[in-house]
Symmetry: C2
Subunit: 344 residues, 2 copies
Amino acid sequence: MSASVGLDRVLEPAGVLPQAAWRLDARPEIAADEVRIAVERLNLDAASYRQLATKHEGDGDAIRAEVLEIVATRGKMHNPVTGSGGMLIGVVEEVGSESPLPLKPGDRVATLVSLTLTPLRITDGLASWDGKSEQVPARGTAILFGRSVAAVLPADLAPELALAVYDVCGAPALTDRVVRDYEGEEVTVAVLGGAGKSGSLSLTAARLAGARTAAVVVNDDEAGRVRDAGLADAVAVADARDPVEVSRQVTEALGGPATITVVCVDVPGCEHGAILSTAPGGTVIFFSMATSFPAAALGAEGLAADVTMLIGNGYLPGHAEFAVDLLRRVPAVRRLFEARVAGH
Amino acid sequence: MSASVGLDRVLEPAGVLPQAAWRLDARPEIAADEVRIAVERLNLDAASYRQLATKHEGDGDAIRAEVLEIVATRGKMHNPVTGSGGMLIGVVEEVGSESPLPLKPGDRVATLVSLTLTPLRITDGLASWDGKSEQVPARGTAILFGRSVAAVLPADLAPELALAVYDVCGAPALTDRVVRDYEGEEVTVAVLGGAGKSGSLSLTAARLAGARTAAVVVNDDEAGRVRDAGLADAVAVADARDPVEVSRQVTEALGGPATITVVCVDVPGCEHGAILSTAPGGTVIFFSMATSFPAAALGAEGLAADVTMLIGNGYLPGHAEFAVDLLRRVPAVRRLFEARVAGH
């Protein structure tokens, strides 16, 4: 098992898995069960990019310099403040003789494991990136382990579009599963951050699974976009960090607290609003990397809230295909993603 | 709703719930739906006490001084480093005319909501506490809100014992529920930190719900205690922060990965071992306040692990009675708790 999860790539501290490691060995030479990717583009996690952009007040050169420094220091794009990474696309260069992954040289793939555990070397100084967006053109190499997950890019989607979808594809797949677990019940789903990538896909998955849905968004502009796209049965505007206001809006939009509340807002402090918005016996799914474990655990206890709280797992079998299929089935979602990738 | 969850007690920042607040108003005068408790004893959360003890290298006077400073500054015993609190026992002094809680003056109660959201004033300088244990004799006042939870202390248990049980009573109740959710399947449960308070109760709850159990403990001394008490079907020694070793031990002890892994080890870095120890389709329940949300979310993704990950909710209806009843049903567990409370 040790090689298949990348233990041989961990430089420090010894013995931890690559995600927990401070520093990885990003050498391009591969072991027998590894795969080397020629990198084309990184897609930084939204929380990570936002932290960098805020810290450097939107100065693209400074943002680029810090990304380069993180990768050079850690051997991976693992934001030390947010703890999050992102994903990448590239072309398979070499497949080890014992790799279990269904890949061959020349395949254009997206990695579906986080950049926080992917050995990464950047060789072009990110010269083609202006630092102004979470989509980062890059040259260099990345390594996949035996137990990594990568998807060959679909022919009918632009690579940037596929990457944006794959980055959040765990969210709609888990939302679908949780809605279906309440079989036979009338299910309502509130999505905090319903206008974003994971939010719009989660809304779509919930509705296709049979739930009545409400999107909670931060301003009228986002509300308009969600309404125009017909993404949710109800749309409400509230600051997700204001628990009293959020729960009031959700209760009004759905005629009561939600069976399931999905948190897709990548700012800290949304735990209590989500818990207060959820009915007894309901479920909160936390997809935001800004979620605080103690705030959620102690918040539910302090509110005497009998809700199931899930840490959003980025992996479910078939999650990438499921998410891409949502774009094919619901053109309005595809248009939202296309607009986002185009920078509108 | 605003008063019932304590919003009127929040001094800063405005608008957040008491648990998220930096500072609470701990004045002893109560509103119509509040209850005032005359404090007798605090029980600090294990992670919080450990952090303080480590920081001050076991110096009891320094630990006491910092606890006093935290309570004076924040109006609650909310450790700013660990984000955790604990619980308290005391006697009901005054019940507001509109309080929904089934309490009356003179009742000896334990609060079942965290100290991180309980307005607290200490009036004796903690003069009776030597700073050497997480059980803190104290004089002062605490406030319960309309939506708080408190339990009248049972007649057949010493107060210190009841408090120690209540402090972790969410863990066995949720473990019981999750085991029963796998109805009809043969369920195995691994508990990381099986010798501790929440661990031993979780092991006991899992077994009584029909699961085959394994305790993972940190050394031979703990292994001996768990074996002597007959708490688990198998006992293994491993460092819970070493994912490869933990998963090897669990797999060996149970004849395969666990259906359910319960994390009760109050040190950081146990997420990946728990995930690796759990079978596809299984569940990880995180009860440790040292759990990192991103480490769990990204770890499962990075390991392509299809496991459900639960944030351990400290509240389930009936959890306090359930946990106390485990002590009554299993004398060996009661003896472990008695020894722990006595400081052995």
